[in-house]
């Protein structure tokens, strides 16, 4: 399980996380939603210390860390409990798709290369990328890169996977395939924490939805509770805004996406 208590984080003068408390049970899929700048990504990045929290305790699996007195070795142990899928994929540019998946196994777990390759191919197969195993990231589309990124995150058998806006920088045409892969994993009862703007997807995969704004958790509950019967004014407002925005997006989508595609392929 994941348990976060009294988590605080500030960047210079701005308090990004103001006393965050929440829990994720094993096998649970939790989706975090909220406006930009609400601290969702920072919260996720505090869980593996990509951002160092200022205060609070974080427990992931067997490892508990107190932010005010933490040693490097503890941070390293905490990091082995999770893996992350990034908005910009962050595939290792000097490694093939397969090597991206197996590298950590060989380096950190000292796994035999053949064994790691076997695991890597299985995972690439799961995300539909086995035919591109020997391709380098530069030759893969965004959707393909993100699917490799997911396989990489699965490879280390983490206690939980953290998804940091996994589809936000994808061309709309690739969003579907990536969400399908994530849903597939969710169905296997893997503990997952997902920051996303894809509300339909959130409703579909989430066991629990957390709504964040201005560095606090405003409301949390089942998808039905949050999407259909939000209690808090800010939640309601956010969801309304979002629905309006979504409708506009669909209108402009047809030209916008083709333009974007042209840009990406050059």
């Amino acid at each position: 399980m994941i348990k976060v208590s009294n988590l605080k984080k500030r960047f210079d003068q701005t308090e990004v996380l103001k006393n965050i408390n929440f829990e994720v049970n094993d096998g649970e899929v939790v989706v975090i939603i909220g406006p930009s700048g609400s601290g969702k990504s920072t919260l996720l990045r505090c869980l593996n210390f990509l951002e160092q929290p200022d205060f609070g305790t974080i427990q992931v699996g067997e490892v508990t860390v107190d932010a005010t007195r933490v040693k490097r070795a503890e941070i390293n142990r905490l990091r082995t409990q999770t893996s992350m899928v990034f908005q910009h994929y962050n595939l290792f540019k000097n490694k093939t798709a397969l090597e991206n998946v197996t590298h950590a196994l060989i380096v950190t777990q000292k796994m035999d290369k053949n064994e790691a390759d076997q695991i890597g191919r299985d995972l690439l197969n799961q995300v539909g990328m086995v035919q591109k195993a020997d391709s380098y990231p530069v030759s893969l589309s965004g959707g393909q890169q993100q699917r490799v990124g997911i396989a990489r995150a699965l490879a280390v058998k983490p206690h939980a996977i953290l998804f940091d806006e996994p589809t936000s920088s994808l061309d709309p045409e690739w969003v579907g395939e990536v969400l399908r892969v994530i849903s597939g994993i969710a169905n296997k009862r893997k503990t997952m924490l997902i920051v996303t703007h894809e509300m339909g997807f959130a409703r579909q995969v989430a066991d629990k939805v957390v709504f964040m704004a201005d560095g606090v958790i405003v409301e949390q509950g089942t998808p039905e509770e949050i999407f259909d019967h939000p209690k808090n004014e800010r939640t309601k407002q956010f969801l309304q805004e979002y629905t309006k925005q979504f409708a506009e997006d669909i209108k402009v989508d047809s030209h916008a996406s083709s333009e974007k595609r042209d840009l990406l392929s050059t």
């Binding site: 290792f92 540019k93 000097n94 990124g149």
Partner: protein, 223 residues
């Protein structure tokens, strides 16, 4: 004074005997400079307190003073402070001076190389449980190396040519031998021209090697 092409060609075989000492000075110094340069660059990039200040002074001093001055200081100056160092040979002193001097430049080249690697690469490595040194070895350095190779190659070519400074402390390498050979018949220009040709061929061969290596490394980055 007519240019004697025959003589120029005639002395090339004799001059070639001094290519090994020139390459020896350049290659050994380069290897040591790379090791020091990587450490300095890591200190710069990670802003390690205390070491950062030391590294900055080191870099500014050894970039800011002429290599010849450094060479003289190491060979003649240091033994006066530390008599133990009196036994270092001229070759060793030259290698130490060239290594230190080159490392100061390489530190900046490598720093730029490291900083050109997207921060997300390190984050991704850490997120799947690698430690920073592991991320450095497997992910960041290989990408930084690719970015740093052209500038590093220039440093090496410069080092091949600047190794002639070593004659000041008595190491006879390619250029010095050219000068010395010309002392018996005063055909300096022929000797210099022959020396120049050899340097040119050396750097061309090196450039070919670098090109091959860059292509090999670049494989991952071509669509």
């Amino acid at each position: 004074m007519n240019f004697d092409i025959g003589y120029m060609i005639e002395i090339i075989p004799e001059l070639l005997k001094y290519v090994p000492i020139t390459l020896y000075l350049a290659i050994v110094s380069m290897i040591i400079a790379i090791v020091i340069g990587v450490f300095l660059a890591l200190i710069l990039v990670n802003k390690i307190p205390v070491l950062l200040q030391i590294a900055k002074v080191y870099i500014s001093f050894f970039r800011g003073t002429p290599a010849l001055v450094q060479l003289l200081m190491i060979y003649f100056g240091l033994p006066q402070l530390f008599p133990l160092l009196n036994s270092i040979s001229a070759e060793t002193a030259a290698i130490i001076a060239f290594s230190i001097n080159t490392s100061a430049y390489l530190a900046e080249i490598f720093r730029a190389g490291l900083e050109s690697v997207d921060k997300g690469q390190a984050e991704a490595a850490i997120s799947v449980g690698m430690t920073y040194p592991e991320a450095l070895r497997g992910i960041i350095l290989p990408q930084a190396v690719r970015n740093a190779i052209p500038a590093t190659g220039n440093m090496f070519i410069g080092l091949i040519k600047n190794s002639s400074l070593a004659f000041t402390i008595g190491v006879t390498e390619l250029l010095a031998q050219g000068k010395l050979m010309a002392t018996s018949n005063l055909k300096f220009f022929e000797a210099y021209f022959a020396v120049g040709l050899i340097y040119w061929v050396l750097t061309m061969l090196y450039s070919k090697l670098q090109e091959w290596y860059e292509n090999r490394l670049g494989k991952a980055y071509q669509r």
